[in-house]
């Protein structure tokens, strides 16, 4: 069936090869004379390295360390900041920090050699939690106070004068834990040489990030390195910057060894020694009048960044910009602080800082509503922001906000108001509702000032090849971008090609992150396609375009004032639970969501994204507990860090509201992260009502519910 209409459901282009087991992931690659590699890591959280004792290596085996970085190279990985070292040198700052890379042809021998490497340290007291960092436990890790980054935003009347005239101030602290991505494919890469150039095959979201990050290790330019993305078995942010931590040591090793080298993490390594979602601690002081109306909210937001800043400042910014939720309060003062600890650096994870503060504000508002006897959903809806409403950065909402309509959809479908009355508080049954949003693409003028994305279309005969740096990682972009281009060209989708990117062949379209691919790269590609259509009869040619920022939306990155985002995705979620009062086991009995993602490019892909994001969020709220004791993650496998199975949550009912976005391709906005951002709070709301408890920390497995019951 010829397909080009944007509203036709299409079949994903990558589905068949994946289902048949034919798609090649990094671990499936093999080259002649290939060596295997293992990373040798720190097993203490903080200290100096006194001695590294390496057994005599058989011929063909190598141990690569910081000493192998050439004189014109720099021992740093460039991930927005440049503080993350490729190899620890002299000291270590967290458990799992790369000290060396062991390579050789036989994996049994590598295993043996690894067991014989001994590293002696002088250990120092480590700071693990946000509180440890603020108390400067063991002395500062950075600066004098462990503050890696901070910012504030202010809107409305001065907070002090609001607090002074408030009838009451409701103060509470809400916390979220580490979350591990658990992409089913662990991290992996293979490096080799082709025609004198370094070629890295890697499971990654951002091939251009990889080459930029590692080139400096050898004093090279990014163009000296070719990065080819392999079929990527899930990422969720875990393969945004983290692949650099594999690619860096591999590049240094390749400069010495000059043979193909393969590095694939086991699940245990991927659990213990990879980035996680930032743990957070958010304290709100909310000024209220006698009737429970909000006069102003003062929020202090702490994120645990781990040992290096890397991309955490950007994560923190997004956390602060989402810390007032989907609401227009008269005044807000929001301060964000990212602290350094001796834990594995925290990094991107679907939502990129927004889920933590959205959980906090939703749960906080629920608690205020219940204190004053209001229905939480109804109470929150009084404050829904509207078009032209002022954001926390003194910018304005550009689009129509359809939250009232979205709330009605899920309230009707779930029979929310009847169930609220029927279940009451503490009956064991509960229903909860949350609202959330997600700013699309890079914050502020990032797209315009920093990323400057390009996309190119190449016409050969009646076929068109899409050349972009954006990647397919499961989210469906290879299908939706083909659809956008085919639609604009009015040709069949089958005439459009789009391969996994090779950085030597395609322009840099910016990272595949920040829910920006469809909204930003899709728009550039659409613009290319429209020009190509007009010139269709010119024969074979190509069209390349750069991102164009709409006029009239100022942003000041120095003061964080202005339009932080030009478009938001919006969401509403309702979750119903039945809690077993004998065991505190929570059975989720219903899930209803409604999202505004502009105009959907493909409903089947959107359906899958909604389902998957919502379940990840419910896992985050309920069962995904990652603890860190003395610098070591306690959960190291898929049996002790559990993520949802097919039996844990029921079939979801989902809705969209159509709200075409003026600057998106065919009206589309970003949606990949949005769908993660809110079901957690609805779940917590439902559990709180079912048991009459107050929850201030997620996840809430049955043990933590027990504690909350005792405190109730």
């Amino acid at each position: 069936m010829p397909v080009n209409c944007i509203d036709d459901k299409v079949v994903r282009v990558d589905a068949e090869a994946k289902a048949r087991g034919e798609a090649k992931y990094a671990s499936d690659l093999s080259f002649p004379d290939m060596l295997y590699a293992r990373l040798i890591r720190s097993d203490i959280p903080r200290g100096t390295i006194d001695e590294i004792s390496v057994p005599e290596l058989p011929e063909g085996y190598y141990f690569i360390t910081a000493k192998d970085i050439p004189e014109n190279g720099r021992n740093e990985l460039w991930m927005i900041a440049k503080d993350w070292r490729c190899f620890a040198d002299g000291d270590v700052r967290y458990v799992g920090e790369t000290i060396g890379l062991l390579a050789g042809p036989d994996r049994n021998m590598l295993d043996y050699l690894e067991s014989r490497i001994e590293i002696r340290y002088t250990e120092r007291e480590a700071a693990i939690t946000i509180d440890d960092a603020l108390a400067v436990k063991g002395g500062p890790i950075v600066g004098e106070d462990n503050v890696l980054c901070s910012l504030f935003c202010e809107k409305g009347e001065k907070m002090q004068s609001i607090m002074d005239r408030a009838d009451s101030v409701f103060t509470e602290t809400l916390e979220t834990g580490f979350q591990e991505h658990v992409h089913l494919e662990t991290n992996g890469a293979v490096i080799t040489m082709e025609n004198g150039k370094y070629v890295i095959y890697i499971s990654a979201q951002c091939p251009f990030y990889v080459r930029k990050s590692v080139a400096g290790l050898l004093g090279l330019t990014p163009e000296d390195i070719i990065v080819r993305q392999t079929t990527t078995g899930g990422a969720f942010g875990g393969k945004e910057h983290f692949p650099d931590v594999l690619a860096g040591p591999l590049l240094v090793a390749e400069s010495v060894i000059r043979k193909p080298i393969k590095l694939i993490f086991t699940r245990e390594e991927d659990m213990l020694f990879s980035v996680k979602r930032h743990p957070s601690k958010v304290t709100y002081r909310t000024a209220l009048d006698k009737e429970g109306n909000i006069l102003g909210i003062d929020g202090t937001i702490y994120y645990n960044c781990g040992a290096y800043l890397s991309s955490s400042y950007v994560v923190l910014q997004r956390g602060v910009f989402h810390a007032n939720g989907v609401y227009d309060f008269p005044a807000t003062y929001l301060k964000g602080v990212g602290v350094a600890t001796n834990t594995f650096p925290s990094d991107a994870f679907r939502g990129f800082g927004a889920p933590q503060t959205l959980f906090a504000i939703e749960t906080h508002l629920d608690h205020i509503a219940r204190k004053f006897g209001f229905d939480p959903a109804e109470y929150k809806s009084r404050y829904f922001i509207k078009k032209d409403g002022e954001t926390v950065t003194n910018g304005h909402i550009v689009e129509d906000v359809k939250l009232p309509e979205m709330m009605k959809k899920i309230a009707d479908a779930s029979d929310y108001f009847r169930k609220v009355k029927e279940y009451g508080i503490g009956s064991g049954k509960g229903i909860g509702m949350s609202f959330y949003n997600h700013g699309g693409a890079f914050t502020g003028n990032g797209e315009q000032a920093i990323i400057k994305a390009h996309a190119r279309l190449v016409k050969t005969g009646d076929r068109v090849r899409i050349e972009v740096g954006s990647t397919e990682m499961g989210q469906g972009f290879q299908t939706s971008l083909r659809k956008i281009v085919a639609n604009a060209l009015n040709i069949d989708m089958d005439q459009v090609d789009y391969d996994n990117p090779d950085t030597s062949l395609v322009p840099d379209s910016g990272p595949t992150a920040a829910s920006r691919s469809t909204m930003v790269v899709g728009k550039i590609a659409e613009n290319c396609a429209l020009e190509m259509k007009a010139r269709w009869n010119e024969g074979d040619f190509s069209v390349e375009k750069e991102y164009e920022h709409p006029d009239g939306h100022p942003w000041d990155q120095a003061t964080f004032r202005g339009d932080a985002y030009l478009g938001y995705g919006w969401g509403a979620a309702c979750v119903e639970v039945d809690v077993d009062k004998v065991t505190n086991e929570v059975k989720t009995t219903g899930i209803w969501t409604c999202h505004d993602i502009g105009h959907a490019i493909d409903e089947l892909i959107v359906h899958g994204q909604v389902n998957g994001g919502v379940i990840q969020s419910l896992g985050y709220a309920s069962m995904e507990k990652m603890e860190n004791r003395k610098g070591h993650f306690r959960q190291s496998s898929m049996s002790d860090y559990v993520i949802p199975t097919s039996m844990d949550f029921p079939h979801q009912e989902w809705f969209l509201v159509d709200n075409p976005y003026q600057w998106g391709p065919q009206g589309a906005k970003g949606m990949g992260e949005l769908v993660f951002n809110g079901a957690d709070a609805a779940y917590v709301d439902a559990v709180e009502r079912a048991l009459g408890i107050t929850v201030t920390k997620i996840p809430i497995p049955p043990e933590d519910i027990e504690e909350a019951l005792e405190n109730a």
């Binding site: 994996r107 295993d111 504690e707």
Partner: protein, 290 residues
């Protein structure tokens, strides 16, 4: 690091056991996981292993003349869950063990030989006074499973013995109860489990028993606590419950057990005993049958 073997006959296996102290591997779901070394590498336990999955003498589930059920050591969790000969508590536990693929591999012999307090099968088997049959060149010996499992990962298996089968004596319970709490609703290791059973005749509790899994270094059955209820009239049960719960709590928590597990155990026992007190319909209390 040991050498590993695949015996073809039971005799070969016994010889390997005696001469090499080879540890039997049946489904491999414990040894292969505990000693895993990563991609492309065979697990490398520091003891010799013999893979006995091909020994058909150790398979099969059959009813014995005295009404007992004998389950061969190589019977998988899936086979046990599907067998109508097997008592309900054990079938229920077998059907909730791990995921389907695990149940197709994991065996009863391995599950009890591993001696993990989190193992799914020992808990209901101990409730039912199951015995384990151990085989060596000296012949067979039988002992209560409760005595066979000494502590966490410790059993009374001799260096020359292998587990041949498990024998469960017959029971007729009026009420039965089983619950397992995992970290999620399927494919989960047990965080806490409880079996209970009781027989009521003419208003008197002729038999009461309970066993707690994952609640200590081994499965806990407190005969002392059970005896507070056994032979008491149902009418008196309500007054006994508080003391019984205190006694059970004492039995499971000598080592600072987390509150959640203690409280939940007490609530599960209460749920069961309340059904008995209230004269519930005989049968399974609390959960769906299978």
């Amino acid at each position: 690091m040991g050498v590993n073997y695949v015996p073809e006959t039971l005799e070969e296996a016994l010889l390997l056991r005696k001469a090499e102290k080879a540890v039997p591997l049946a489904g491999g779901t414990d040894i292969m996981v505990q000693h895993r070394r990563g991609l492309g590498l065979a697990p490398q336990p520091d003891f010799p292993v013999m893979i006995i999955s091909g020994l058909n003498e150790l398979r099969g589930i059959k009813k014995l003349d005295d009404g007992s059920v004998e389950i061969g050591a190589l019977s998988t969790a899936a086979e046990i869950a599907a067998s109508e000969l097997v008592p309900w508590h054990v079938r229920k536990a077998a059907s909730g063990m791990g995921a389907i693929s695990l149940r197709n591999s994991a065996t009863i012999g391995g599950n009890i030989g591993n001696g993990s307090p989190k193992g799914d099968l020992p808990q209901p088997l101990i409730l039912l006074d199951a015995e384990v049959v151990l085989l060596s060149f000296d012949g067979e010996r039988r002992m209560l499973l409760d005595e066979f499992i000494i502590g966490a990962k410790k059993t009374a298996l001799r260096d020359d013995e292998i587990i041949k089968s498990v024998i469960i004596p017959p029971h007729e319970f009026t009420y039965s109860y089983y619950r397992k709490i995992g970290m999620r609703r399927a494919n989960a290791i047990s965080k806490l489990s409880l079996s209970a059973a009781c027989t009521v005749k003419d208003g008197v509790i002729s038999d009461f028993r309970a066993s707690s899994g994952a609640a200590g270094p081994k499965v806990i059955r407190s005969r002392e606590a059970e005896s507070m209820i056994t032979r008491k009239p149902v009418a008196e049960l309500e007054d006994i419950v508080p003391d019984f719960l205190a006694a059970w709590d004492h039995a499971i928590s000598p080592h600072a057990m987390p509150k959640y597990r203690r409280n939940t155990t007490a609530r599960m026992l209460t749920e069961f005993l309340e059904a008995v007190i209230n004269g519930a319909e005989p049968g399974i209390i609390g959960q769906e049958a299978l």
